[in-house]
Symmetry: C3
Subunit: 351 residues, 3 copies
C-alpha cells in the first residue's frame, strides 16, 4: 500500500464527509513580521501592539488575510490537490482575532457534489472552519472547487447542490469582543477619513504598484503549508498551459489589500467576503496595482463607534489603476484584471 498521498479525486468525496486537516500551526510574531515583509501592509492594528491596545484588543492581532491563507492552506491536501479550478466562496466570515501564540487548525465538511456532464470532473462544496486552540472559530466559509475524477468511468451519486447566501448580511458580521474605538487615533492609523466619509459608488485608485517575484510567492505558499504544487514547482510548471509557475492567488489578495491602505487606511478589519474571483493568472515579475469601489454602507447593530463598508477590490497587473479597469458591459474583464473581490470592511465612525 502506498504511503504517499496523491489527494482526493471527485469520486472519493461523500456528502457529509468530515476532514480534520493535518498540521496545526502556532502562529507567532514572526508571521506578523513576514506578512509585513511579503506584502508591505501598513495597517496600524496589525503593526503596533500599542495601537491595538488603544482600541481594546490584547495586542496586535495577526492580519486577517494571513488567517485565511493558513486556514485554506491546510485544506488543500484533502480538498483541492486535484482541483481544476477554484470556483467561489460564500458565507465567508472572520471570527475571533488570532494573536501570536495561538494555534490554528482547520476542518471541513462536504456539503455538496455535482459531477460535470463530461464526467472528467465535478464540483465539490465544502464548509471549512479554522479554529484556535480554545476551539473558537477564527474563520468559516463555504468554498466550491472543480476537482478531477481519477477515473471518468467511476460511478458517482446524485447531485447535491447546497444553497448559499448571496452575500453576508451586515447583522451577521462579527465584531471582535472588547473592541472600543473611542480612542482611535486617525493620525497614527494614517488617514482622516472615517466611515461617514465614504459613499456607495465612490472609486479609489490605490496608486502604487508592487512587483512580486517567484521567490516571494513561493515563500508565502510554503509558509502557509499550502501543497498546491502549481505554485512552487517550476519544472512541472513548464508542462502546464501557462508554461510556468502560477503565483498563489492569495498572495495577490494580500498585495491588493496592502495597497488599499492608501485610501482605506482606517479599514482596520476584514469582516467577511461575499464573493471573489481570481480573474486571471499572476506570475513572478508581474506588478500588482489595485483600486476599490464602495458598494454599500451599513451601520452595525448596537455600535455607534464603527460601521461596515461593502467594498469591491480589483487588482490588475502591469496596469496602473487610475482608469479603474474592471468588467466591461459585455461581461468580460479588462485583460489586466487578476482579482475581483467583494468584501465587508469595518471602519471607525466619528464620535
Amino acid at each position: 500500500m502506498s504511503k504517499t498521498s496523491t489527494g482526493n479525486f471527485f469520486e472519493d468525496f461523500r456528502v457529509g464527509q468530515e476532514f480534520r486537516h493535518a498540521t496545526p500551526r502556532t502562529l507567532t510574531e514572526a508571521d506578523a513580521a513576514l506578512n509585513v515583509g511579503l506584502y508591505g501592509s501598513r495597517f496600524a492594528i496589525n503593526s503596533s501592539d500599542e495601537f491595538a491596545r488603544s482600541i481594546g484588543l490584547l495586542r496586535a492581532p495577526l492580519d486577517d488575510l494571513l488567517v485565511f491563507h493558513v486556514v485554506i492552506g491546510k485544506t488543500v491536501n484533502d480538498i483541492s490537490l486535484n482541483a481544476v479550478a477554484n470556483l467561489g466562496y460564500a458565507e465567508f466570515r472572520w471570527g475571533v482575532p488570532v494573536y501570536p501564540g495561538d494555534t490554528v487548525q482547520s476542518k471541513s465538511t462536504v456539503l455538496g457534489l455535482r459531477e460535470n456532464s463530461n464526467k472528467a470532473s465535478g464540483v465539490v462544496w465544502v464548509r471549512s472552519t479554522g479554529t484556535n486552540q480554545k476551539g473558537e472559530m477564527v474563520l468559516d466559509y463555504v468554498r466550491w472547487v472543480m476537482v478531477h475524477k481519477r477515473d471518468p468511468q467511476a460511478a458517482v451519486g446524485a447531485p447535491v447542490v447546497p444553497k448559499t447566501a448571496a452575500a453576508v448580511a451586515p447583522a451577521d458580521l462579527i465584531v471582535p469582543e472588547g473592541l472600543k474605538l473611542g480612542g482611535y487615533d486617525d493620525v497614527v492609523a494614517g488617514s482622516p477619513h472615517r466611515w461617514e466619509d465614504y459613499e456607495p459608488g465612490e472609486r479609489i485608485d490605490h496608486v502604487s504598484g508592487i512587483t512580486l517575484e517567484d521567490s516571494d510567492h513561493m515563500f508565502s505558499t510554503r509558509l502557509y503549508q499550502n501543497t498546491a504544487r502549481v505554485h512552487f514547482d517550476a519544472f512541472a510548471g513548464k508542462n502546464t498551459r501557462f508554461g510556468r509557475r502560477l503565483a498563489y492567488g492569495g498572495h495577490v489578495i494580500s498585495l491588493a489589500r496592502a495597497l488599499s491602505f492608501n485610501g482605506l487606511a482606517n479599514g482596520f478589519r476584514l469582516a467577511a467576503i461575499n464573493a471573489g474571483s481570481h480573474v486571471g493568472p499572476t506570475f513572478g515579475g508581474d506588478t500588482i496595482y489595485a483600486w476599490s469601489e464602495v458598494l454599500e454602507k451599513a451601520p452595525l447593530p448596537g455600535r455607534a463607534d464603527l460601521g461596515a463598508l461593502r467594498m469591491r477590490l480589483i487588482a490588475a497587473k502591469d496596469f496602473p489603476c487610475d482608469s479603474f479597469p474592471g468588467k466591461h458591459a459585455d461581461g468580460k474583464y479588462h485583460p489586466a484584471v487578476t482579482l475581483d473581490l467583494d468584501y465587508w470592511l469595518l471602519m471607525p465612525r466619528r464620535a
Copy 2:
C-alpha cells in the same frame, strides 16, 4: 475629495510644521532574525541574548541599522514621497537600544526650506525622531532632501537654511545605560582586536561580497513599511532613468555593515552618523563589497571600558575592495563605489 495620498510637494511644507508619521511598529524577535537573514550580520550583541546580558543589557537589542530603517521608513510618506534626491544627514545619533516588544514610531519637524533656482523643486530640512512606547528617543537626526514642486509657479516663502554640526562630537555620543564591558568575550564576539589596536589611517578590506537580488531588497523595503515606490515597482521602474527598480539604499548600508564584521567584529554598536552619501545606484544582481578606514579615535568621557572609532565605510559593487576604491583626487568616485558613510562606532577597550 480624494482619499488617496500622493505625498507632500515642496510648496506644501512650512518651517516649524510637525508630522506624527503613521503606523507605529512593534519590533520583535522576527525582525532580529530577518535582519540576519537579509544581510548575514554576525555581531554577537544582536545575535545572542546571553552575550548581550554578559555586557549589561536586558537581552539582544535589535540591530542599530534596523532601527534606522524603520524610523526613516515611516517618514517617507510625509516627507520624501516626491523626492528628487536624498542630500544628507547630520546630528544623527542613536539613543536607547530597541528590544523585541518595543513599539517604534517617528515624528518630524521641518527645520528649513529653500527653493531651487529652477523653481521645479526645493530642499527640505527635517529633524526626525524615533521613539519607543515609553517616549524615549531611539534615533534622532537631521535630514535634507530635494523635493519636487507640484506647481513650479507656486509661490514659496523666503529661504530658511538651518545650521547643522559638521560631525557629532565624541562627548555627544550616547552609550546605552547599564552597558559594562568588563566581561566582554572576544572569542565569542569573533575578534581579538580592540579599540587600542586601531589607528587613524588604517584601512581594512572586508574581503567577502554579498549579492542582493530584487526579491531581497524589495522585501526589506516592504518590511520597513517604506513607501518609496522606486524600490518595488518594476513596471514603473521601466520608465525611470535607470530603466529598472532601484535597491533601497539602506539595504546596501546594512550589507556593508554586515560585511564589516570581518575586521571590525568588536565594533558592537553604531553611535552616530556624521555624513553619508549613496554615491551610485544599486540594482538586483549586484554584488556588494566593502572596506573601511579609521578616521579618528576618541576616548569617551568617564569610560575606561570602551572608546569610539570614527570610521569611513565604503561599499562598491561588482568590485572586490582589496584596492580600496574611493574618491579620486579630482573629487570623483571610483565608478564601482555605491556608498560612502562616515560614522562613529563603539568598541571595547582593553582592561
Copy 3:
C-alpha cells in the same frame, strides 16, 4: 597586522586544537517560521505548540535540521572557509531539543590531519558540538573536509586518521526526555502509517518538487551565519568551475526532508546521520524532488511507544523520483541525483 580573517589553511591546524566558534545565536519563533517559509515543512511537532505538548514536550522544538544548519554554520569560518570539498560525517547525533529562546553555540576539536599526496591540500577531521545556554549538547558529530594549503611547501606533521563508527547504533540514539507518544494523533500529524508499517527495502516516492531560487538559498546561508562565500557571491561565482553561485547543500537537505513528509509524516524526529553526500551541485532555479528507502528497522531499548527507522533519502533535481534514481551498479549516480543521505528517524509505534 591584518585584522581581516581569511580562515585557516591546512597547515594552520594541529591535532587536539580547540575552537570556540564566534557568534552564538538565540533561536526564536522567527527561525521556526522561516524554516517553514523556506522549505515548506509540515511536521506537526515543529509547527504546533499544542501538538508538541501532547507528546510531552515543552512546546514546538525547532526543526532538527535547522539546529544542524546553525551549528555547522558557526564552524565554517574557522574550519572550512578554505575547503576544497566536504567529505563526510560520522557519529552524528542530535541531543536535547532546541526551543525558541535557547542560545546555540558551537565548538570543535581537531581529531585528525592527513596531507594529500599532491601537497596542495589535506584532510581535516573535527568533532563539532553544538550546545545550548545550559551547556547541554544539542548536536554532536565528526566531519571531515579537504582544506587547501596556503603554501604547498609548508611542512606538516605525520598523518593522524581517527577511527569513526560506520553507523550510529540504535542503542546510541537519543530520545528527548519527557517524550510520551501515548496521545500521538495520527490525523493531526498527517499519516496513518506508524513504525510497524514500514519494512526494509520499501521505497517511497515523495511526489512533489520544490524550486529553489538564488534569493532563497542565499537567505538561508545568511540566516545560519554561514560564511562560505561560494553560496552568496555571484560576482566571484562567475570565476568558479560552475560559473555561478552554488546553493548551500543544507538547503537541499531541508527541502528533501520537507518533501519526505508525504510518505513519512510520522517521522517526527531526526536522531542521527550515518553518512551523507552532496552528490551533485544545486543552483538557483533547480527543482528538487526526493524519494526514500527504508534501510533498517530498530526497536529502541525500553520504549514501546516509538521505534527507529534507518532511512536513505535521495534528492534529485529537475527529475521526478517515481523511477527512484539512485546509484547504478557501476557505483555512479544517476546524473540528476544531488543528495544521498543515510539517517535514523524516530517514529511512533502502535499502542
